[in-house]
């Protein structure tokens, strides 16, 4: 069995997002997390104690680096300086997984908007995203997992729905899919769709990592919107959708994300334990 295979097997467990408030707990004692995820952009500074701590922890925990700033949907192409910074970080850390989003965040004038903004699923956008994913995989020297976004609006002009767009993208670039089950649920609810129907049409064989997180329900005068705020426990319908996903994909690395109103570490670890249980349900051990 190769080392790469070993690492993939290790990662088909539940991991948690490593956020700054929990760093001291991890540095003080081993924690029951199978692997850790970081937002790459939080570690791009020239130096400082955070990067030192992360390198130390990576000796004990496999690592998934989740980029939130590359802007795969930018019409004017990728920021080469940013690609070079990411490459240097990934060469230093050698993470087991590397991912980005099906979204854009950098405008044509170079303004960084600090959010994962929606794309129209048109032929023009597919050509742009496919070229950008190809360039990113080449420049980073790694296969990218591309995450389905949470969306709050849809464009009239569309040649595909999101599942169809992602299938084309996987086919054209050989990228993997990071399936965010909460995003799948949130986007379907906001668009009035059935998430299970969308799930059946996604390129599930390409799934290399799964995310779950909490969302907020916001009542507005024109109807309810679900907001993907990563600020609470995972909602029951999202747990149910996770089980439906795992039944189709088999065991995959599952990440519990929690980025706002960050709880005490045991609360986060309890969510990961529940994800671990659902992974066990679809493993060989469950018979």
């Amino acid at each position: 069995m190769s080392l790469a295979h070993n690492r993939a097997a290790i990662l088909a467990q539940a991991g948690i997002g490593l956020r700054h408030p929990h760093l001291p707990a991890f540095l003080t004692a081993p924690q029951p997390a199978a692997w850790l995820e970081i937002h790459s952009e939080n570690y791009l500074a020239p130096g400082g104690p955070r990067l030192v701590a992360l390198e130390q922890l990576h000796g004990d925990y496999p690592l998934s680096c989740h980029g939130v700033g590359l802007s795969l949907g930018s019409a004017e192409g990728l920021d080469e300086a940013h690609l070079a910074r990411l490459r240097a970080l990934y060469d230093r850390l050698e993470p087991e997984l590397v991912s980005e989003h099906l979204a854009w965040s950098t405008a044509p004038d170079g303004t960084f908007l600090a959010d994962l903004l929606p794309l129209p699923y048109t032929g023009e956008a597919l050509d742009i995203v496919a070229a950008n994913v190809g360039r990113a995989q080449e420049a980073l020297g790694r296969r990218l997992l591309v995450e389905n976004p949470s969306t709050y609006l849809r464009f009239r002009e569309a040649d595909w729905d999101e599942a169809g767009f992602l299938s084309e993208l996987v086919y054209r670039t050989d990228c993997g899919l990071l399936l965010d089950v909460n995003n799948l649920y949130v986007s379907a609810a906001n668009g009035g769709d059935d998430p299970l129907a969308a799930l059946e049409r996604l390129p599930l064989a390409a799934v290399g990592e799964i995310h779950i997180a909490g969302h907020a329900r916001v009542a507005t005068p024109v109807g309810e919107l679900l907001i993907d705020d990563h600020g609470s426990t995972v909602a029951e319908p999202v747990w149910a959708l996770l089980r439906a996903v795992l039944a189709r994909t088999g065991p995959r690395p599952v990440l519990v994300e929690w980025d706002t109103n960050i709880p005490e570490l045991p609360v986060l670890l309890a969510e990961a334990a529940r994800a671990e249980f659902h992974l066990w349900e679809v493993s060989d051990a469950a018979g």
Binding site: W104, P108, T111, L153, R156, E157, V222
Partner: protein, 254 residues
């Protein structure tokens, strides 16, 4: 609409307040009464994300002018000077200059320098890792070579001679710090910020020590630097040097 134009128009409408671009709303497939609310989610996300970064980087400025005033001021800053680097630890360096020119806050002339201090603390936290010069290393330099020896400041170090007591103002906003009412706003103050042992540190050096540090920043030979500090007859070069070395402020020039 071509994707580049759509992204340019979204950039405009998401960074500012007021009405959302009707040309963008017309592109949406969602029912017309819902379109503004849906696009506004992204405006809220963008502005909230950038506000949170500035909240975290400038906590003392925020306390000095109050959360509401800070939000209104930084939203104006965000609209005029949004980030251009997709890594938010680097966003906010232009806020001190913006505050200096921001007419509604002209009655607080020291505010921009307090912001400079907070930004220096942010930069010190993320500066390149570099071993400081230790007292033992300096002890190995032959005495005859000491006058010509060139020292420099650690890459994380920032020295600022402010016309305002910015260290005292900052300190009054820390747990266990001094009282803000006791700060003499007419007093000029130098401040030194640096990182040592993984933590950002800060103190106010005396005028002589400040002169010595400024000379080190220019990589002047030790004898010349000492001369600049020696205008104060009580200045004890060896004691000051020992403290700077123990604190990890100095290094050899690169």
């Amino acid at each position: 609409m071509r994707l580049a134009e759509l992204q340019t128009r979204m950039r405009q409408t998401l960074l500012t307040g007021g009405s959302l671009d009707p040309g963008l709303l017309a592109l949406l497939a969602d029912p017309p009464p819902q379109r503004e609310r849906r696009l506004a989610v992204y405006r809220n996300n963008v502005r909230h994300a950038l506000l949170s970064v500035l909240d975290a980087a400038f906590p003392v400025v925020r306390e000095l002018i109050g959360a509401d005033c800070f939000s209104a001021t930084t939203l104006a800053f965000i609209a005029q000077r949004p980030p251009h680097v997709p890594a938010l630890y680097a966003y906010g360096g232009e806020l001190p200059g913006f505050l200096a020119d921001f007419a509604p806050l002209a009655e607080l002339p020291w505010l921009a320098d307090v912001a400079r201090l907070e930004w220096a603390r942010n930069e010190a936290l993320f500066a390149a890792d570099w071993e400081p010069l230790s007292p033992n290393q300096l002890a190995t330099v032959p005495v005859a070579e000491l006058p010509g020896l060139r020292l420099g400041l650690h890459p994380s170090a920032w020295l600022h001679e402010s016309p305002w007591p910015i260290h005292a103002i900052w300190d009054a906003h820390q747990p266990g710090g001094g009282a803000l009412e006791a700060v003499d706003l007419a007093r000029a103050e130098a401040v030194l910020v640096w990182r040592h042992g993984g933590a950002v540190r800060q103190r106010s050096p005396s005028p002589s020590e400040s002169a010595l540090l400024a000379a080190f920043a220019l990589e002047c030979p030790l004898a010349e630097a000492a001369e600049m500090a020696a205008r104060d007859p009580d200045f004890d070069l060896s004691a000051v040097l020992a403290r700077l070395l123990t604190d990890g402020v100095l290094t050899y020039p690169t």
